[in-house]
Symmetry: C3
């Protein structure tokens, strides 16, 4: 449904903003759990953190599903409905990737996660917070998009830095690790961490699309 | 082209529905061939199944191309033309992933595919059938989207279960397999199977977008 | 913003075409540097080529950013603004993938890149040129889309051929290479080359979407 015409005359339906914020809060919470989890290296702790993240991931699924339901039954929304759906769905993808990373740590149970893993987690946390801070901007960017643009650019930079850390880690891994199963395990886990920053950057691409389309 | 206005007064062009169904039938057929193929483990049988899947994949390319051609020359379509294009293109991606999996089995020629591989193939089959069943719903969901929503949710669940099976398989592989080339071979093949369910879930995301946009 | 109505009466804003061409020129230039780089196998030359590609990649980031800025401030564009954004953003992804491939070669520093790698680079070059040639077609395809369709189909074929070359290379690698770190290194690099052709095919999907939507 196009609402470019009617939306000028009809009060906006504002309930999507709190739901999107709720989802972004869950991005921050799962990210914080992952960051904390990599400091605990017993199999039991790893499984425990994975379960706590899994619970949050189910909660996020519920919120995303609720947004989807509301979109299908709401006549007027602040943006085209498919764009809100895209945004919610990509925030959900960030949480899914965090969950998938925690699962790999729990079931592969590799050696202790080193400093590069902690660094990646700090970047993931920074990205999660940028996503969270972007949500209130959705109500403001039509007047001034500069803050939202800056958050998007920072998410892009974070992805780049994560990529560098990953590649440098892999280079050292190839040089110094001799156990090939350990190489594959930790490579998959670190790769998943790097992929979380890809997913977060994807959210920024959706946000940039909002700016291009609506600003 | 937007057809939100004219489409209320003009008879819909219904020929896209049969073509989309044809494409979904090919998803089911290639999926069935893959399922059958993993029960046959000689190099000759593997190559033979790959060739049969390849043939279907070319057929699907033809159908997708035909849809694309028709879209470019049809004035009124039941949905925005780019959405039909997206849907056809993502069904084609499922078939491409099935083809790519069969190719890897044929050319890597790993040890016999085990029970986890069979389980993944059963999930792929179930997903293919859900995609096929979703096609007639495209003519109904504007009145009642509940069936289509349920198919989409099932495709999401299938992807989750496939992910679990894959991860558990990899965990066992890391524990018990000692031949590292065999590890990489089978990991790549199982990963491709898991990716097929990702592609099928992607179709469900497009379908959900139809619901959000048109229901 | 929809411009289906106003665009019939307002002169088009043509400045996006030169910027898109500029970006496509950078696709061709980075691709040519990558092709050349794989003929030079000392660590120093590899690092040097990576730096030259990195520089171009930053230049492309600047152009993409400029397109984004202009889109947000231009009232009438030749196409919906989000579509131009998508196109620019996917050309940028091709360049990012080329950069990422060059980085892996520089930091993993594997044995000399063999004939399959050269073949993949020739395909990447051919794809880059097709993207470049597609840009002037954006001003013509509404009258006659056949040339643009043909370029898109060729980009699809290139991706298929790259896929075949990659898989055959991997098969031989599994058979003849015994050093597992070398296997993983070269596999990641060749995989990144194959992924560049995926990204180039993605550009063709966006172009096909233009045809479906605007032709």
């Amino acid at each position: 449904m196009q609402n470019s015409f009617f939306s000028r005359f009809t009060p906006k339906e504002p309930k999507f903003f709190p739901m999107l914020r709720e989802l972004s809060d869950l991005v921050v919470q799962t990210s914080a759990l992952l960051s904390e989890s990599v400091k605990h290296n017993t199999p039991e702790e790893r499984v425990d953190y994975y379960h706590r993240i899994k619970e949050k991931e189910r909660e996020a699924d519920g919120v995303a599903h609720h947004i989807f339901d509301q979109l299908s039954t709401t006549f007027i929304t602040p943006f085209d409905r498919e764009d809100i759906h895209q945004l919610a769905s990509h925030m959900d993808d960030v949480i899914d990737a965090i969950n998938s990373c925690a699962k790999r740590i729990a079931i592969y149970n590799p050696r202790p996660i080193g400093e590069s893993g902690h660094e990646l987690c700090r970047l993931i946390d920074a990205g999660a917070k940028l996503i969270q801070q972007s949500m209130p901007e959705l109500e403001r960017f039509r007047k001034d998009s500069s803050t939202l643009v800056s958050y998007c650019n920072q998410l892009h930079d974070i992805e780049n830095r994560a990529d560098d850390i990953y590649e440098e880690f892999i280079t050292r891994l190839f040089k110094y690790e001799t156990d090939f199963v350990e190489i594959i395990k930790i490579k998959e886990i670190m790769h998943e961490m790097e992929r979380i920053t890809d997913m977060a950057e994807y959210v920024s691409k959706i946000l940039k699309n909002f700016i291009v389309k609506y600003a």
